[in-house]
Amino acid sequence: MATKPIEKDTNVFVTGNEVVAWAALAADAQIMYGYPITPQNEIMHYWTRLAPKYERRFLQTEDELSAGFTTCGGVMTGTRAFTATAGPGTILMQEPITMAEMMRIPLVVVVQQRGGPSTATVIYSQQEVNLCCYGGNGEGFRVVYSTAGHQDLYDYTIKAFNTAWKYQIPTIVLGDGYQAKMREAVTMYDPASRGIEMEPTKAFVGAEGCPGVDREPRFYRNTYNTEEELLDVVGDLKAHYDSFKDEVVEYEDSDIDDAEIIVVGHGVVSRACKEAVKALRQAGYKVGYFRPITLRPFPQKQLAAAAEGKKAILAVESALGQMKRLITDGLYGMTVPIEEYFKPGKGVSSQELVEKVKSMLD
């Protein structure tokens, strides 16, 4: 075995895609399966440069269907494996993700959002929230971490492997083209140095012993016969999801208590929200900040508590309400108005949010 890729804390100047490749190495991922699509390419570029140095493997597949299904196959052997994609690739990735939902395969997918619909731009957007949370012909039995920068990409890529294997649930790290390409300083670390133990993997197939002789063979299927049978199966999947969702739900907030308005944003947009709230507070405005880190499961109770009695919520996103739908669903029954600041496919600056909030309060 080659040496650990990260032995001690290392401050480096990197792009987000590189961070993901390094984090996957540090998390002891053994193989990546992938297909080129901008803006996630450098995850593959760096994984393929680094993999041979640390005895890891890579397979370039024929499309994202194959990337997802080969990853499912690799994971089922008890190998920590992952793939990465974006945009139209995230659409194709829904098919393997649904198989992982049904069969509880710890699939890890990194998504770097680009503009949509269709081919659109390769640059940036937050329009893959619907797909990542609820894509596919199912019920969204996935965990989705929305990252806001390089340290997040490092931390949550590592965490995604652990969440996936601990709960046997497909897990998505949701970044975007800005995070993918931006250059920032980040501290890379050996997970063990932070007390993070990598969840042990488990072989679905190919365990020791001859099936039928030394042990029972294992048959994994996603096909069922009757409505009743499926009702039970999906009920079990839901019960499983409900059993851990409070443990994995994550959010960040500040300045909530006396706030009149709560600014809500996820991913890289949350950085602008945070800065705007800081500036507004300095100017004497009573404004709070809330960022869902897990979009699925959504921190519904926490946001509801924060929103209680407020004058308004401002939903900010680089999409036409994909996050807002999660908020609306989470706050059903509350009367707090939800205002919109939507810029599909375009970044949001703190200055424009400051102006927007002022226009709501003045």
């Binding site: 053994q30 193989i31 399966y33 493997r57 397979l59 597949t61 024929e62 499309d63 269907l65 194959s66 299904f69 080969t70 990853t71 499912c72 196959g73 690799g74 994971v75 089922m76 052997t77 190998t79 494996a81 098919e95 393997p96 198989m99 679905f204 197939v205 190919g206 365990a207 012993g209 001859c210 099936p211 039928g212 002789v213 063979p217 294992r218 048959f219 994994y220 299927r221 996603n222 096909t223």
Partner: protein
């Protein structure tokens, strides 16, 4: 004294899972013969403890619990991809992908073609019964010219739908050195078993991609009795699809 027929043990391959027999395929279906030939090949090679079986959607999914080997059923067309993923992660396993003609030549053709192009070290078995059996007998890439199916009710028109897909010929033309490619038929199960053994051996030797198409029968959707079923298999199907080895590691190709 009359012999109690129920006490005569049928000649089943050792790796077959007896608890799941009799199997779930239609009477007269060729899958049973294909899977018997495959089971015997596994037995004779002594690899039951190393095999991982992956099955497609369609009638082949009924093979989910056919063998005493770990088995994964995936989505329609994606079996070569899942099988590839397993093999890449655990190269010491013997990985078999099992699919129909729709899964291999239509919805999953990119996975078959690219597994062959990469000379993926898996054994891919495709059962050709000239139609989509499980979905109710629609036209498949392998449906013969003029053959009636639910989506070619006046017979397959070559002008509209093109010629039937000849998989092994295509794969043999593109697969790399060390690949094994053959077409067998359930009419000759011993030859079919020989092809399976060589296809598995190619994987065990790590020589290259192995692909075997098996001509099979679908009396239910063909609406044929035993005699007509066999006549179609050995007549028009055999004429359209020549059997034999199309590529053998170290030998090049030869048809029967």
């Amino acid at each position: 004294m009359a012999v109690e027929l129920t006490n005569v043990a049928p000649a089943m391959p050792a790796c077959w899972r007896k608890e799941t027999k009799t199997h779930k395929f239609c009477p007269g279906c060729g899958h049973g013969i294909v899977l018997k030939a495959l089971g015997e090949a596994i037995d004779e090679l002594g690899i039951q403890d190393r095999v991982i079986f992956t099955v497609d959607i369609g009638c082949c999914l009924l093979a989910i619990d056919f063998f005493n080997v770990d088995t994964v059923q995936t989505h329609h067309g994606r079996t070569n991809a899942v099988c590839t993923g397993i093999k890449r992660a655990t190269p010491d396993k013997i990985c078999i992908a099992y699919m129909g003609d729709g899964g291999g030549y239509a919805i999953g053709s990119q996975h078959l073609v690219n597994a062959a192009a990469r000379n993926e070290k898996i054994t891919s078995i495709l059962v050709n019964n000239t139609n989509y059996g499980m979905t109710g007998g629609q036209m498949a890439p392998t449906t013969l010219p003029g053959q009636k199916t639910e989506t070619s009710p006046y017979g397959r028109s070559v002008e509209q739908q093109g010629e039937p897909t000849h998989g092994p010929e295509m794969i043999a033309a593109m697969a790399g050195e060390g690949a094994y490619v053959a077409r067998g038929t359930v009419a000759k199960p011993k030859v079919l078993k020989k092809y399976f053994k060589k296809a598995l051996q190619a994987q065990m030797d790590g020589s290259g991609f192995a692909f075997v198409e098996a001509l099979s029968t679908c009396p239910t959707n063909w609406a044929t009795n035993a005699k007509k079923t066999w006549a179609f298999l050995e007549g028009p199907m055999a004429e359209e699809y020549p059997t034999g080895e199309f590529k053998v590691p170290g030998e090049g190709g030869k048809a029967e």
